[in-house]
């Protein structure tokens, strides 16, 4: 992957996502092939620059307190003593954990623990960011905030890897998604264009046409009509052209809903091979 890219890793349980991330951190050697970050072995890269990392579960001694945890990780992260308090307060503010700063990690809920992990990952500026199931345990509000934070982390010299079960999340955040199964990349799906616009080609559609369903069905090859419902397969631009033509031809469209995105379809096909 290139700098500036956000690459997702999708896969069922046991597909090898966390193993791949352990290899990216240089904690496990590959059984075959090589892993390189910026031309060097992952461990050498991490020891030189560090990686912003958020695991699925915050694994740190639970007797540590929130502020202490961030102080420790800021120290390990090489943040200068004079800048540590500022960095700590910045990430506490960004992740909304001020009220938990004095609590031990074992006193925190799963969601708050995950926010501490996110705060830790944001402490230092890193060129490589690795998130492993980052929204695990987060409530919907913080899941949305997390997406904003990830969007804010996009930078032309930064590469981000996000492993997740959540295809919708990957589709929103990533440029490309690698679908992993049985320890191998089965397929790589492009979900964003260079300009950042989502170019996922939604393939299957369900459209409620109040009147003139046959007009729309006649414009999309293979479309099936069942009363007011038209089901068809085509990409996003073709869908728009067909709808515009159908409306111009007198059709009254009530609702348009994607049944399955190309990412979901690719995932389903890849992991059931």
């Amino acid at each position: 992957m290139d700098a500036g890219e956000v690459v997702g890793i999708a896969g069922p349980n046991g597909a090898g996502k966390s193993t791949l991330i352990a290899m990216l951190l240089g904690l496990l050697p590959p059984s075959d092939g090589t892993v390189r970050i910026d031309g060097v072995a992952p461990r050498a890269f991490v020891e030189r620059e560090g990686v912003a990392y958020l695991p699925e579960l915050m694994n740190l001694p639970l007797e540590w307190r929130t502020a202490e945890t961030l102080d420790r990780l800021a120290t390990l992260g090489g943040i200068a003593p004079a800048a540590r308090v500022g960095a700590r307060e910045r990430v506490i503010e960004a992740t909304g954990i001020a009220e938990h700063r004095g609590k031990k990690l074992k006193q925190l809920s799963k969601g708050n623990l995950q926010r501490v992990g996110l705060a830790a990952a944001l402490l230092a500026e890193r060129r490589v960011v690795v998130f492993d199931e980052p929204t695990h345990g987060l409530d919907p509000v913080w899941t949305a905030r997390f997406r904003d934070i990830v969007s804010g982390l996009r930078r032309s010299d930064r590469a981000m890897v996000i492993a997740s079960h959540n295809l919708d999340e990957l589709e929103r955040l990533c440029d490309r998604v690698a679908i992993l199964d049985k320890g191998k990349v089965q397929q790589v799906v492009t979900v964003r264009g260079i300009d950042g616009a989502n170019t996922v080609s939604v393939r299957r559609w369900r459209i409620r046409v109040v009147s003139g369903a046959s007009v729309l069905a006649g414009l999309v090859p293979g479309a099936k009509v069942d009363g007011e419902i038209v089901e068809c397969e085509c990409d996003l631009p073709a869908m728009n052209r067909a709808l515009a033509a159908a409306i111009a031809g007198g059709a009254l469209v009530g609702a348009v809903a994607p049944v399955e995105s190309s990412l979901e379809e690719a995932f389903r096909v890849s992991v059931t091979r």
Partner: protein, 247 residues
């Protein structure tokens, strides 16, 4: 961009090592203070200082408890922490930072050994001040030697396996039995060679006995124990460097 200096985390290493370093003080207090205090309060401090037999009894309690606290404290000092970091997944978080793992663990070990030694010497200092004068420098040297030897062994076990506590106990018990038998010339040639190759725990005990009695140990014995301890750390650090941190 360069990695974080291994010295940066010293403060936190000290904090993490503090609890284990004060274990011998608690042990000594729990075992020795009550009987010594009862002897002293029954006869009075002057009587203890004047009565050779009474003083001998007090010193016997002191020295037996001191050696027990030193050995147990040294055993606990560095046991478990590397395997725990690995098994509980702390390594993923700690070593996503620009940190060299073997340097991180070396610093932790050095800080722990230094703190253990510095705190342990409070026992003879306090005893000398409150009861009767006892050897201090010998205790300091012994504490350092024991922390280094047992700490090195614990670190190597932690670097090698996740069930490091079990390996450590098996090694210590087996080594002590074999080396005691070897000392009494009760082993065949092969087992005697094995006993001599194992960590010199019995030899360390004899070096300590001489130091605590205010005598100089046999130089070759001291050299053997010291070099063995250093070798244990070197091998442990090489294992940390060479083997996967996530297992």
């Amino acid at each position: 961009m360069t990695g974080t200096s291994p010295l940066a985390y010293l403060r936190w290493h000290a904090r993490d090592s503090l609890l284990r370093s004060v274990v011998p003080l608690f042990l000594f207090s729990a075992i020795a203070v009550l009987p010594i205090r009862s002897l002293v309060s029954r006869s009075g401090m002057d009587a203890v200082r004047a009565d050779g037999q009474l003083q001998q009894n007090v010193l016997q309690i002191y020295s037996q408890t001191l050696t027990l606290a030193m050995t147990l404290g040294a055993v606990l000092l560095l046991s478990g922490f590397i395997a725990q970091d690995r098994e509980r997944g702390h390594v993923r978080f700690l070593f996503a930072a620009p940190v060299v793992p073997w340097q991180h663990y070396l610093m932790r070990a050095l800080v722990a050994v230094a703190m253990f030694t510095a705190l342990f010497v409070l026992i003879p200092l306090g005893f000398s001040w409150l009861v009767v004068p006892v050897e201090i420098v010998g205790v300091l040297k012994s504490a350092l030697l024991f922390a280094a030897l047992y700490g090195g062994l614990a670190m190597l076990c932690g670097a090698l396996v996740n069930k490091d506590g079990a390996l450590f106990i098996v090694l210590v018990v087996a080594t002590t039995i074999l080396q005691q038998l070897e000392k009494g010339e009760l082993l065949g040639h092969t087992l005697a060679v094995v006993a001599r190759a194992l960590p010199p725990l019995v030899l360390a005990d004899s070096v300590r006995s001489r130091w605590l009695a205010g005598n100089a140990p046999v130089s070759a014995d001291l050299l053997h124990v010291g070099l063995y301890a250093v070798a244990l750390y070197v091998v442990a650090l090489v294992v940390i460097r060479r083997t996967p941190l996530a297992r």
